[in-house]
Amino acid sequence: MRDFVPDRFSDWFAARGWSIHPHQQEMLEKAGAPALLLVAPTGGGKTLAGFLPTLAELADGAREGLHTLYVSPLKALAADIRRNLRAPIEEMGLPIRVEDRTGDTAATQKRRQRADPPHILLTTPESLALLTSYEDAPRIFAGLERVIVDEVHALAESKRGDQLMLALARLSRLRPGLRRVGLSATVENPAAMGRILAKHPDPVEIVHADPGPAPDISMLQTAAAPPWAGGGGRHAIPEVLREVGRHRTTLIFHNTRAQAEIFFHHLWLANDEGLAIGIHHGSLSRESREKVEAAMVAGSLRAIVCTGSLDLGIDWGDVDLVIQVGAPKNVKRLVQRIGRANHRYNAPSKALLVPANRFEIVECKAALDAVREGTLDGDAPAHGPRDVLCQHILITACAGPFDADALYAEVTSAGAYAGLARDAFDACLDFCATGGYALRAYDRWQRLVRRPDGLWQLRDPRAAQTIRMNVGTIQDTDTLKVRLKNRAGGKPLGEVEEGFAATLTPGDTFLIGGRVVRYEGLRELTVEVTRRADREPKIATFMGTKFATSTRLTGRILDILAQETWPDLPGHTAEWLALQRRVSRMPGADRLLVESFPHDGRQHVCAYGFAGRNAQATLGLIMTQQMERLGLAPLGFVATDYATLVWGLEALPDARALFAPATLREGFERWLAGNAVMKRTFKASAVIAGLIERNTPRAGGRKSGRQQTFSSDILYDTLLKYDPDHLLMQITREEALRGLVDFGRIEEMLARVEGRIDHVALDRVTPLAAPLFLEPGRVPVEGEGRERMVAEAAERLMEAAGLPR
């Protein structure tokens, strides 16, 4: 056993009063495995476990060149790891050079790294993809022994992970003996995660760390009952402040950036004791985030209000409480967030849930039960998206001429692409080369050409520059920087969505970085603001992912609703549910409840599909389209994770006609053709696949989002009309069905319900439907109503301006 741990290492552990964890030891023992996956809870010394074999192999100083590549989803994590490795390397006197390489690394440093790579290079999937695009990639990676993928559970669910695995496939071809190591948080199915990590069909060895004691987790009891709708959690501010006061450091997680901003604002208004509290989310400027991170590491903050930007990796030191505001939507993420509390191994993590509204009390209860019973949500299956493959083909072409057969073999050695058929691969290659259109228009202007010797290469080698500038799969939302006026060159406060900026008129106020600012104007695509807060703020609408409640959590929620009584729930919530059962019905797992009632001069239909936010929104779009055809004049709808509420001019006579599976599917097909979600999905895939270039050397920087939106919409419309089976249209459909459109969850719901539809017609709003009236994100329906709105608004403006029509 001891043989695996060099003396120098055991001495170092001993000198620090540490003992090596069993899983760290096991990682050393199994260091020779071609693929090795470590599953460990946060704080289990995971990173060190990943690096120990590298340090041991490099200890004798006999090696030159790159030995280990470390890839993490966060730039900040790479820098953090570099600092953390410094201690063992310096204290043991190891002759090892460690450097990071991310989007923030200076160009001169990057050039030097290519000429003279360090022993350990810390990087991100995007920077790695870029490295493989250089002609000298074979030389850079010639001696590579190990690649460590950190937070592999987070990467595995995203296109960034798919891109990374394709890059690893390339590395394995350049360096056949390369060993892969994955570091993962607790996941439902480690074997499936291992298959994504390993070179297909290599086996993977899995090391499990001790999961540690069960977390101490409960619902925060508040004096004020949560509101009927909304997601702010403001009612809980006194209790949250009390808990912050009782703990050393508290992380307060929110599901969206906008909610984090509002909560932070009100937290400060009530912060009479002046506790040091910061805010951290992805729309804040890097400077602001770094300041908060530094204060956190220094231990000078008592709490941080944050979002998913703190979900991953970085060791925040002394966090002893995690508060989750709003239902967690997904049990796996909740468990990982809870893990942020108490990085001391073997001490239970402490967490409090704050339901933001009445319904979320039920959701939080369901999530608590799930955590206690240790059931997670299941893992997304590997799918190997083709837009990422198209980008990979272009990156490959940048590195030099390539053989299609060899590239196909390489691609299918990535787990997620193992099932990729040759004709599907060829279609992607054809798209990269000719555009892949039914009309062969570009024979002279192909992007890739086949040489007489059969190899493929770029027609114009200068194209490599543009391709490199567009590497990556992270979706840019169209955001504008926010700056204080009259501070040219001053640091930005953060970013807001362009769509939000377009709704502002000078004098409007909004929250950013916890401050209320006043909108002054747009200048060079920057939002200029001043610090004048004399009005109630509008709230910045950040894109931020809106997670849908997972299928499994939804099942638990339906189980709770099915109970006869609810002794475990607060009185006000139990009474609310009982009232619903009395005046209408309770939604169930095996039936679809549809209520219809008039309210405020409009007819309403509420469908309780419990299919998750995205699918319920899709359902809303299909319902309103069907209703328009039936002449019911729908005006708009709003969707939550559990229901869709539609309002319009006419009452719904019979819900069964609306929800017949054949009708829904037919409506779905028709609707798919022209909707905005499809266009957004198309745009994302078109950018990844290289049909739309975000960055071009000529244009001198990024196009404004508006221009890009227009061009991608028109490209979508054109393809739909003239080439509906084009590769990108196929990809768009596939993506939308799984992602934003989520029709899969509607199918799941239809299967569950099997045509058992309960239509309850009432004369007033029902208890369960009432909160939906307060829900933000109401979607107006395109159609006659919309055209009337345009005409009326224009007329009012003309009148106001004193102009004749």
Binding site: T434, G435, Y437, L439, A441, Y442, R444, W445, Q446, R447, R459, D460, R462, A463, T466, G499, A502, T503, L504, T505, P506, G521, L522, R523, E524, L525, G690, L691, I692, E693, T696, K703, S704, R706, Q707, Q708, T709, F710, S711, D713, I714, L715, D717, T718, L719, K721, Y722, D723, H726, E787, V790, A791, A793, A794, E795, L797, M798, A800, A801, L803
Partner: protein
Amino acid sequence: MNGAGVSLEIAGAALTLLPGRALWWAAERLLVASDLHLGKSERIARRGGALVPPYESADTLGRLAALVRAHAPAHVVCLGDSFDDLRAAEALGPADRDELAGLMAGRRWTWVQGNHDPGPTALGGTCAPELRLGGIALRHAAEPGEAGPEISGHYHPKAGPHGVRRPAFVTDGRRLILPAFGTYTGGLDAADPAIARLMGPGARAILTGPTQAALPLSACRRTAGGPPRRAVRGAARGPA
């Protein structure tokens, strides 16, 4: 086509602003469309850019053909930037050439020169730097010094209330700027200083598409001063 269009009188001429982004002058039996940008995808590909769907010329010509069928003009004027560049005109595919030849047959056809297509093509018709009809100047880009009535294109104006952005006509009763007709064309905010400085008092934008609402130009402004926007790629949706 939806609706009959919006009537507008310039220098005594009764004009109709069509929902399909073109101008109909009934007395002259004249159809005017600006900024067709035919061959744009070919030009982007030729210059090493992305291979965008090569269907925009067919789509643009198809919509022009529908207008020609509906109005049977005696004279068609394309108001400049009809081709994305002169090489794109040469590279037009055979089907598009046939469509264009069919449209041109039996009527007068004038290609006004634009900044993208500053010379004649081999496609027939008359090529002219500008045109004067019934006392109205027809040219590609408005002349700031022009004192008389004028019809032009070039700026691709777009406008609409509440975040709606549709290709639009802009006029102050003396000058008229046409929206871009081409399928792959971008837009410039109608209130952009580049357009606004050409307009006198009482200027307004008239939207194209199913609802041809008119808006005061001042209300098209997104912000005080207005954000600078280049008229480049991207386009409006065609009429429904």
